[in-house]
Symmetry: C2
Subunit: 407 residues, 2 copies
């Protein structure tokens, strides 16, 4: 399904507008039995500032163990990614394989292996077919190019069960200088049997210091990738990278503020694409919570509403079932003021000041069913805490897909 885009970049760029300094390739090396592209390589001609945000799961895939030690950095030269195999729960062999992927890339482009990052996504618990991977890295290196099609090839080769390739392009104009943001992502939590990983790479030619890049990426993540859920299952491989190729004076003051807004907007677009493409999703739930004690409370309430199978199935069925939403808010663990609870679905108020209000149930149900994005606006008091959160609904397709016997 596709999703209406309330967070579209303010300046949609022309397809050829990519940040300067990067080359891309995506190839088929044979990891996936389907024969679809499965190896992606992004190379920078110069060392670039790079920030990373990784899974909080304590069971961590080998490529995450390796990459997270290497960011933030001012000297990254490449990101190599394979799909079809997560290289997770693969022990010492997995660590050696991840290291070898970096070493091979480093040799080809002439840099230290510690300046190469690696990501993997796909089946858990199987060793990487390193002969395929090695051939793929060689092929990808020979095809590196800076054009738009090569960027898309690279984005294509990180997909697993994604129904759509996920990219976003933003442009920043600061009068005397302008910058690009180009980003790709795959996945939506652990959406498929034995498949893990949300991966995303955001490229820009804006100049940032490593520390500012790391802070900016974490801020963007907190309002985007950390505010979406499909099934609430945190994978072993989640990796989000920000590579900044820009030279010149690092962004500061108002320019940095604008960059942060655009970076966050780009991350939100990608995050919503993950939800819309979530396994079996028939609707995106866009959940706004306001009036909470603080932002953390608002987020906890939104996450609890988003995770409730009863709320999810109500949205699936087009059922404006305020009881499920209000009671989910009540057990989230954050303070709420029962007599001040208000609830709107798709713009219709159905609960106000702690009591149900009369509304046209049939009309609202029809509207919910026909909306790709169902807006749920929940007031829980008079506090300053508010948040927006996105989640998929829960369908029989999800259950059927995930209960198929696959081992």
């Amino acid at each position: 399904m596709s999703v209406p885009d309330n967070h579209a970049p303010r300046n949609n760029t022309d397809a050829t507008d990519l940040p300067t300094g990067f080359r891309y390739a995506g190839v088929t090396c044979g990891i996936k039995p389907s024969g679809k592209p499965d190896l992606s390589l992004i190379v920078s001609d110069q060392p670039v500032v790079t920030a990373g945000v990784y899974t909080r799961n304590q069971v961590i895939a080998a490529p995450v163990v390796l990459s997270q030690k290497r960011t933030p950095s001012a000297s990254i030269r490449a990101v190599v990614t394979n799909s079809g195999n997560a290289n997770a729960c693969t022990g010492d062999q997995g660590m050696q394989d991840a290291a070898q992927m970096c070493e091979q890339v480093a040799e080809l482009i002439g840099c230290s292996a510690k300046d190469v990052l690696v990501m993997s996504t796909g089946i858990i618990g199987k060793p990487l077919p390193m002969d395929c991977v090695q051939r793929g890295i060689g092929d990808a290196y020979s095809q590196l190019a800076s054009d738009h099609d090569s960027f898309l090839d690279s984005a294509e080769a990180i997909r697993t069960t994604d129904k759509e390739r996920k990219t976003v392009f933003h442009r920043l104009d600061f009068g005397d200088r302008s910058f690009q943001i180009a980003a790709m992502a795959k996945g939506a939590g652990m959406i498929a049997p034995n498949m893990a990983t949300m991966l995303s790479v955001i490229l820009t030619d804006a100049p940032l210091t490593p520390e500012v890049a790391q802070t900016s990426l974490q801020r963007a993540t907190d309002s985007s990738f950390n505010r979406v859920s499909v099934d609430g299952h945190t994978s072993t491989n989640d990796t989000l990278l920000l590579l900044c190729s820009g030279s010149g004076a690092p962004l500061d003051g108002q320019e940095l503020e604008t960059f942060q807004q655009e970076l966050t907007a780009a991350a939100i677009v990608l995050a919503k694409k993950l939800v819309a493409d979530g396994e079996g999703a028939s609707h995106v739930m866009a959940i706004q919570v306001h009036g909470a004690e603080d932002e953390a409370s608002a987020e906890l309430i939104a996450r609890t509403v988003a995770a409730s199978p009863l709320v999810k199935t109500a949205v699936t069925g087009g059922d404006p079932n305020w009881g499920r939403i209000v009671s989910a808010a009540g057990y989230a663990g954050a303070a709420i003021v029962s007599e001040k609870i208000t609830l709107e679905i798709c713009g219709t108020t159905i609960y106000s000041k702690g009591s149900p209000v009369h509304f046209d149930e049939s009309a609202l149900s029809k509207k919910m069913k026909s909306s790709a994005e169902v807006a749920i606006v929940l007031g829980v008091g008079d506090g300053p805490g508010s948040v927006e959160y996105w989640a998929s609904d829960l369908t029989t397709d999800y259950v059927e897909f995930n209960s198929e016997y696959t081992t």
Copy 2:
């Protein structure tokens, strides 16, 4: 579905063995359009020690607001319960209606209204049809009796969407004196559209002080009703009561310890019946976690594994998918030792010391599919924390039932 009972009482009592001092009735008063029994009354001839444990939801139904102020107590005389209407989110009218139910019972049996407890379960947000309720209380009072059939009538009248009536009977022999425990329960979280409430009443003629009764009930709850989940959605009406009619020296020392074990065992039997009867459930997952840092950590890990839709659907499909279980443990938020993780499903070890091990996948899948209860035993380190937790799986029946348009 029915469930194998690993926590069967050590002494299954004869059906006529009920605690002394109580009379029961269950009648049809017309709250439910189906015409099924919907009003239950339990009366004690003497004031009894009573403890209560209630929902932690901040959105609390009127009967819970009222009952929780009245326990623990040494002077309770009756519990009146209606099904078909939860009297939740019903404002001041709901509070008046709950109070009036207690007043009517108090007048009939000749006691103070504050010595009557009230429970409600069913649709949220609709006012109670008080004419039906009043007629029902009158009818129930006139039918009160101490025989086994009357107890079952009472248990029958608290059901909503339960497929089975849920009761359990235990007997304690202490040489010179013996006691009975008889208990009833309904529901399994918020299992149905607009239906709320797990309700349970445990009756005994063992003598306990109010404080000891409260502590014992909380301890039993922590190992039973607080360790089950169907959909993780805490209702607005959950109420669990323990009524102790015994006279003589209150239990103490070894007798009290034995009583606690039997009470907990009875609560576990009921809690597992809730899970087995969970909406759409095709298997019970019996999740044991051991080796955690402490019991709270073990419980958090078990609850996270139990709540994962990916784990639930794997069990539905008979898929021994260790990746989903191990990664769920990894994001639970409690410390684990990755390289010491072990996992058994239905007695077969499939993951050991942090690595997958070879096993007969087809045989294990067949065993999972044919087991009403799928045992998942997860070791996460060398710590002393262990726990047992029960949950239902996730089926297309659950999604279909809960996504039907009902408002």
